[in-house]
Structures are given as C-alpha cells and as structure tokens.
Amino acid sequence: MTIKHSLKTAVEGLRTHKSRSLLTILGIVIGITSIILIISVGDGAQNLILGQIQGLGSKTIAVIPGREPKGPTDIAQTLTTTLKEKDLAALLKKENAPTIKEIMPLVFSSGTASYGAETYSLTILGVSEKAFSIFNLDVAEGNPFTEDDIKSQSDGIVIGSKVKTELFGASDAVGQKIKIKGKNFRVIGVLPLKGQVSFFNFDEIALVPYTTAQQYILGIKYFNRFIVEADSDETVSRTVSDIKSTLRESHGITDPEKDDFFVQTSADIAKTLGNITSILTLLLTSIAAISLLVGGIGIMNIMLVAVTERTREIGLRKALGATGRDILTQFLLEAVILTGLGGLIGIILGASFSFGVSIILSKVLGLNWMFVFPVSAAIIGLSVSALVGLVFGIYPARQASQKSPIEALRYE
C-alpha cells in the first residue's frame, strides 16, 4: 500500500470517530498549549528585561562597592564605604582610564517627601548633571541640573511624574518647596511619565545633586555607585580593566581576590537575568512536558480500545490482502496524525493565550511587553507531539497488525 493511501485510510479512520479523536488528543493539546504559553511568556519577559537593560545603554558600566557576590546565597556587603572622592578623582584622570566618556557618582536613599499635608514615600537618587544623558532622561517641565547645582550643593530637586501628581495634583510643581528629612528642596524640574526603565521607576523617584544628598540627606562622604559610560561598545572591556587597575592602585590592593569593589556591565546584568528567566522557563516547560507524557499514555489507552473495537475491520482488511505492515502503518499513522493535530491545536491555543497575556500586560499594566511567537518551540512542540504519537501508538498498532484475520473476522 502506498504511503498516500495509508494516509488516506488513517484520516478516514479518524474522521469516522471524530468526537473520540478530539477527546483523545485533549492531553496533548493541553500539554503543548502550556509549553508554548510558558515559552512565549518567558521570551517576552526576557525581552522586557533585556530591553530595560539596553535602555541603560550597552556602554554603561557600574562600579559597586564591596566584594562581588559569588552566588545567590552570598550576601555581599554592597553598602560598604569603599568608593570615595579620591577614587572619583583617580578615575577622572585621562591617563588612568582614557576610554571613559562620562563618569557619575551615585548615592541613593529612601525617604518621605512632603508638601503641605501631602506626603509620598520615594527613592532619592543623588546624581550629577550627567544623569540626564546617562539615563536618557529629559524634563517635561522646568530645567535639569547644571554643573553649578552640583558644585554649590544646591537645594534643587527634579521629581518623577507620579511624585508630582501625588504631592501637587494638577497644580504647578516647579518653584514649589518640598521637605525631605527636614530639609527644604526647591522643585526645579519634573520628569515626563516614563514607566519602568532599567532598574528605577523614574516616575516614583526624585533626583538631587549627589553633593547635597551626601551632606544633608545621608550624611556620608562615600558613594554607593559610580556610573561610567565608555566612549564606544568596543572599549567597554578595556574601560572595565582600566577602572579595576585604577581603583586597586587607589585602594592599595595587589591581589584581585581581595578587591573591595566590583564592576558590572550592562552585558553582565543582561546575562545574569537572562539566565534566571531561561532557568525558570526551562523548569516550567519540564513540568508542562509531563502532561505530554500523560497525554501519550491516554492516547495509547484509547488506541488499544479502538484496535479491539475495530477488530472486524482489521480482519477484513487482512482478508482482502493487507499485510501486517499495512495495518501497522495505518494505526501508527492514525496515532501520529492525532498527536500532530493535537500539537497544532496546542500551538495555536498557546500562542493565542500568550497574545492575550501580552495585551493584558502592555495595555492594563503599562509594561513595554512584546508578544513573542516562539518559532523554534512551535517546531519542537509539533515534532515532540508527533513523536509521542509514534512512541505511544506503536504498541496498539502492533497489537492490531498481529491480529489473525480469522480471530478478527469472527469477532462480534
């Protein structure tokens, strides 16, 4: 029998038992649907995170005080005092790190801002005037900082859009005074509505000159971060090593193992977070894959019943000249077509659900979420479901092919 007619016969066999065929593949449909959904949403999450890191700029490098954490359980002392004014000065020297384009010290604190009777809890970032170019920020109202604001420890503050609406409602904020930790700040600018960008939600933040933050809010002489921008993508790794050697010299460290700071690039962060989402996706996918196994066993059961039920048909076909191989092929094809179809339905359903999720996340939660159709997962899903049919169809199909025509014809 040619493969074309084996196919036709198999399809005919399935069409005569439509509703049972559909019920049979339910397990496969659910399995593939969840796998596609998980992978698609996982890819979307990964893209979201990577997009946020890229929002920070691929040339951005962070210098963080303390020892680099060796693993998730290694609680590093990231809030140590090792980054000082002299380090900044050393890094600013062109001969030490010629590829540094911009460098900005950063301090941060949480606090409560109040305006009249209104209060709002927010994150306060102490930055230099370069924050606007490094973080790709602009002001919607008022002005950004100038170099003078930093030098003079001015009381200027730039607030995020949510901070503005919480404290001022619809009225003008620029020029008003707000109070943080007992000190009055003059609002000089308001940031546009941005949503979550990189690791800060700039809507819920206030920017002050780092000099002012160190003196009046935190009362410290050190920095929480240096944010460095290399002059090009190619010089990022060179900049990193320059920073390391400059700081080691400045700190009198000879053994790199004893570094009291560490350097992170956007690529590092992207890699770490990418790994985390990949592992999560893999974990969830493996759980979903178990349902494929269960679905396969379900198909085997139903196929065994179908083989018994169709004993007469098998006998007749054999009497008319079908070989055991013809019967084997027919039932195996039925199983593979069934599971393949289940896989196809699962891919369509999974993609639709994922599309729904993307609409909810982007429209309702305002995330910069893109729907991703996982092409490779769809191809693998389809092949795996066909494989499930092959593996779990072989036993019933063999049972069918080994029926003696006599036994089969006699069966009532």
Binding site: M1, H5, T9, A319, L320, R325, P405, L409
Partner: protein, 239 residues
C-alpha cells in the same frame, strides 16, 4: 493439475495436549480450476475452519495443502496476504463492508493493497460493480444498502482483482430467499460465464445444489464427496 490439493489435512486448536480439540481430522480433496464446490455440514463440522485454511486465512497443523502447485508452508504471512489479495476473493455471511464509506470505495479496498496503479482503480471497481448490477448504487454508503445489495457489493469486491478462486462463506445466510436467489445466480454466473473457481459453504441443500460437486463434512471428516446429479438449471431460480 488441481488448483487446490489437500492431503490428510488436520487442524487442532490448543497446545496439542489433552485439552486441544481436533477440528479437522485428515481431510483430502481436490478442486480443479473452473470447479464449483459446495461444502456442507452441520455447525461444528469444521466447514468454516476448512474454508479459512483453503482461503489462506489460517494455517493447518498437519498434512499438506498445495495451492496452485505450491505448498502453503512455503509462504510467509506477507506472501499469504499477497495471494489472498491477487488470487482469492472472499464473500462473507455478514458482508463485512465498511459501513461509512461508499460502495465504490468498498470495492476499491483490495485494489489499495494490490500495487495496481491508482488510475485504473475507478474503472476496475465500477466494472465489478456493474457486473453485479449495482451501478445505480455506486456512491451510496454501504450502510444504506439492503441486505441483498450489500452482498452484491461484497461480491463485486471479491471480483475486482479477478481472482482464480472465490470463497463464499454462507453468502445467503443473512438474506431473504429472493435476495439469496439473486446472489446465487450471480455466483453461478461467475463460475459458468466467467470461469471463476468457486468454493461455497452452506448448510442449505437447495443452495448447495447450484454447485457441481457437494462435499459433506461431519465431525471434521469428509462424509461424502459427490457430483450433483440433479443440479438446478442455471435459469431456474425458484422452487
């Protein structure tokens, strides 16, 4: 040379020990080409078992069976399937049509397993259907046919490969007498006009008397093997 040559054929069921039963106890018979043999006997006489072995649907346990000069032992299961497909046609008491497909598709079924190019299938199948007078039912579902029509469709299916021999197992058993007579006329024509060899199983003497030879079985043995003297005339279809 006989088309079918059977010597001391035995068939036992079970493991061969005390609990096994002997369904055929040393059958010897010959069927030459163009013959029309009826095998008669009460139920349990072994006539169906014999037909199944003759029709390559089952294997015997002792003795010898030569079909077309070759002993059955030389055939693998696959080769037996090929012989069933090309050299043998089957007509069953219960018709055994696929109920949900058309008459045409049912008759095409043996062609699918034959290796004959698909282009010829429609012509071969509709010719076979025409020869049993069912052309007007070509595209009806098998389940929509009357009993007599079903059996005629089944005969068309048995004919479509133009086999050497047609085995008919109680072909009129499920039919009313009028349909039965039409079916028997077709079977008889196959033998007389188209020169097909026919092996017919029946328990009705009247039906058996269409044949040229009647073999009577009892308890797995041949009781008698006689030429039919008072054969129905080919145009005599009512008693």
């Amino acid at each position: 040379m006989s088309l079918i040559e059977v010597r001391s054929l035995e068939k036992s069921y079970g493991d061969g020990g005390e609990t096994s039963t002997l369904a055929l106890k040393g059958i010897s018979l010959d069927v030459s080409e163009g013959e029309f043999v009826a095998i008669m006997g009460p139920s349990g006489s072994g006539k169906s078992t014999l037909l199944h072995i003759l029709g390559f649907l089952d294997r015997h346990t002792k003795g010898s069976y030569k079909f077309n000069g070759k002993t059955i032992d030389e055939f693998t299961d696959e080769e037996m399937a090929r012989v069933r497909n090309r050299e043998m046609g089957f007509v069953f008491q219960a018709f055994n049509l696929l109920p949900r497909v058309s008459v045409l598709e049912n008759v095409k079924l043996p062609l699918m397993y034959s290796g004959i190019p698909e282009k010829q299938w429609n012509k071969l199948a509709s010719d076979a259907i025409e020869s049993v007078g069912l052309s007007h039912r070509l595209n009806h579902l098998a389940s929509q046919l009357s009993g007599g029509e079903k059996q005629r469709a089944a005969i068309a299916r048995a004919l479509v490969m133009n086999p050497k021999v047609i085995f008919a197992d109680e072909p009129t058993g499920n039919l009313d007498s009028k349909s039965g007579q039409i079916v028997m006329k077709i079977i008889r024509d196959l033998n007389e006009v188209h020169k097909h060899t026919i092996v017919l199983i029946t328990h009705e003497t009247y039906t058996a008397e269409h044949a040229k030879v009647i073999i009577r079985l009892k308890d797995g043995e041949i009781e008698s093997n006689k030429k039919v003297v008072d054969r129905h005339k080919s145009d005599e279809y009512s008693k």
